[in-house]
Symmetry: C2
Subunit: 149 residues, 2 copies
């Protein structure tokens, strides 16, 4: 086994924290110049915020830290294929590269459903790399839902 | 001329405020039981937050005020057709009814591009009513961009 890239390890750790807090275990980090500058954990229930997906939390924190609304020199690493809301936010933020672990046939919007980055109404398309850390990310989600059914 | 419904009037007033602050003039309100419980004005530049569209601002404020992450008994009124990010947030929030004024062929995701509410990966579809206040909403946007070109 090769170790995971540090940003995906950090995103998975954020996902674990989300799961321990009773939220669907998804985590994300924003990386600028090789350094993690923001971390997000899925938290809509805890925060009473339906928009509080891991990606949105990480993007908002990164933009606030940098004092601007565009992150064109940043990467987003997330444990699950982004939904339409998060894919839209990634485009608005002008994220340069998107790395995600597990794919999400039920709610994903990158390789499923709207395939948002391929739409003519999408004004920025990041480079997309899928599958890094897929096994651990999918196991986290499977175990989370298994104990709740 | 008939007067506009009060929620769309309030959304248009929020759009005007956004424009006066130098942001693309889009406004939104969340209504519960006939009462406006939250208002949002587009503010990504001012807040350094690429997710700070009017709809997201209004939904976050309403959810926080109600202390829950689902707004299934609420309506969203917004001056412009929601983008993919905002349509996704509307679905996550379980908004019952969506009213929007102007349509947005370039970035809209309701009747354009991904047509998100018709996707199998969309897990909640609000009732949608378009066109109320369309003329004023479109004029605001046209005038805003005209003086910037």
């Amino acid at each position: 086994m090769f170790p995971l890239p540090a940003p995906m390890r950090a995103a998975l750790d954020a996902a674990i924290q989300a799961g321990l807090a009773g939220e669907v275990p998804v985590g994300a980090v924003v990386v600028q110049g090789g350094t993690i500058i923001a971390t997000g954990a899925n938290a809509p229930r805890r925060l009473h915020d339906p928009t509080a997906h891991a990606e949105i939390q990480a993007i908002r924190a990164a933009a606030l830290a940098l004092g601007r609304d565009r992150l064109e020199d940043c990467e987003l690493w997330v444990t699950l294929e982004p939904c339409a809301m998060c894919a839209g936010a990634i485009a608005h933020a002008r994220i340069a590269r998107l790395y995600y672990a597990a794919s999400d046939p039920k709610g994903g919007a990158v390789e499923h459903g709207p395939r948002f980055f391929g739409q003519p109404t999408c004004h920025h398309r990041p480079e997309v790399y899928a599958g890094i850390g897929e096994g651990e990310a999918a196991d986290l989600l499977r175990n989370f839902f298994a104990v709740r059914r």
